[in-house]
Symmetry: C2
Subunit: 226 residues, 2 copies
DNA sequence: AAATACCATAGGAATTTTCCTGTTTTTTCA
DNA sequence: TGAAAAAACAGGAAAATTCCTATGGTATTT
């Protein structure tokens, strides 16, 4: 045999402990080496640029507060569609899976998989370019059959902003002021969203936003209100 | 030097990938060895029993669905108060920290700490019996000074039921029917809770319930409603 | 047994949310 | 450039939420 080719791997996860631990695990796999990991969400953009340039496989956590996995994936798809990205998540939410796959992820893993499956997956991704586990495949089939959840309701930027504000204690009037729009326009957004999402009231919107990670819960506020 | 003593460590985390990775990391620390890890949440009780018997330090994840870290910690405190437990969490929520420390955890770490701090912590725990990071200490001081969040606001059963229902799309009238109470009574609960929790409206209540895990989000419903 | 605290309930009213049906303005695109 | 689509905006009204204060019943305490 000649010199074995080493596959370079990048890890993007804001949980430093997990990232570092995962690094050790992957380095113990045959033929793989972690050459980069993002330590936190701040200025992830530039770091990813470097990771992309240097590595062949990227392990991407989707539960990140600053620039979340979806946005990152979207950016990657546009900038580096050839990059082999494996999505890592704690949630087996079908919406997440479909969203990431749609954005071009080559695989999707829950953080409770067995390490040996991860190794198998990485080998497969290196050799074939993708790896979809049984459970992920099942989700895709469901989606095609239409009995899965609605994929990608796709919101506009203002709508996202509105939803985020609707998840606070602000009244619609206050939201309108914040967005410098007429209260009636806000009411229009609300009504439209209620219809599209099949919900009855603001609580439904809040729950939707949380389940679909439009807002994130982890209150990283350093002593905000008095 | 004589034979170095090896400290045995157990990991209880339902994220197998994280647990396995963490194992590698800890084994790379000098003088520590992971001798046990719980693979999933099912029947965690008996496994913990074994872990406790064999190990000196236990790394306990608090974000577990089946038997969560709080319950596990409580059980450990009663059954094995001598066990050195380090709590691991993704959340820096002060409530969690205080709750775990109150239950007897010897330390509390976010999953985004630097591996070297974990090593330092484990050495300290082994030698001194506890390790509180600066941030955790700060939370404790705040709690003592009373300017931290209210620990354990302690709700009555009806209040918990009301809060849960308030997180759905039901109107208060419907909630009243569901709980077989007068709408005016429900309004009383609402008003009382708003005052106690310092919130303005129902959205505030929903957010509170989520942040304090009164309801849980992860809709693990396998195709429940038609 | 009286005082106290707590709970369920109520009337009434201001505010906010929700819904329905429009018009005007801006953007898109054939 | 002219038509169509999308977005912003409005009037008006019913329903729900929020807020205030108050009362009778029951359990607890002293």
């Amino acid at each position: 045999m000649n010199t074995p080719q080493i596959t370079h791997v990048a890890i993007v996860d804001d949980h430093l402990l997990f990232a570092s631990s995962l690094e050790k695990l992957i380095n113990s796999f045959n033929g793989f080496q972690v050459i980069f990991k993002a330590e936190n969400g701040v200025d992830l953009g530039s770091k990813i640029r470097e990771a992309v340039r240097l590595s062949q496989i990227l392990l991407l956590d989707i539960n990140m507060p600053v620039m979340n996995g979806f946005e990152t994936m979207k950016w990657l798809k546009e900038q580096h569609p050839e990059m082999k990205v494996l999505a890592l998540s704690m949630d087996d939410n079908e919406l997440y899976i479909l969203r990431m796959l749609k954005e071009g992820a080559r695989g999707y893993f829950l953080k409770d998989i067995h390490p040996s499956e991860l190794e198998k997956a990485m080998v497969t991704v290196r050799d074939k370019g993708f790896y979809y586990s049984e459970s992920v495949t099942e989700v895709m089939v469901n989606a095609l059959h239409g009995d899965g959840p609605e994929l990608d309701p796709s919101f506009r930027d203002v709508e996202i902003q509105f939803i985020r504000l609707a998840c606070t204690e602000r009244t619609y009037k206050e939201i309108a002021e914040e967005l410098k729009l007429s209260p009636k326009t806000i009411d229009g957004y609300r009504q439209d969203l209620f219809k599209r999402l099949g919900i009855r009231n603001r609580v439904g919107l809040v729950m939707y936003a949380i389940k679909h990670k439009i807002i994130d819960i982890h209150s990283h506020d350093p002593k905000s209100h008095p």
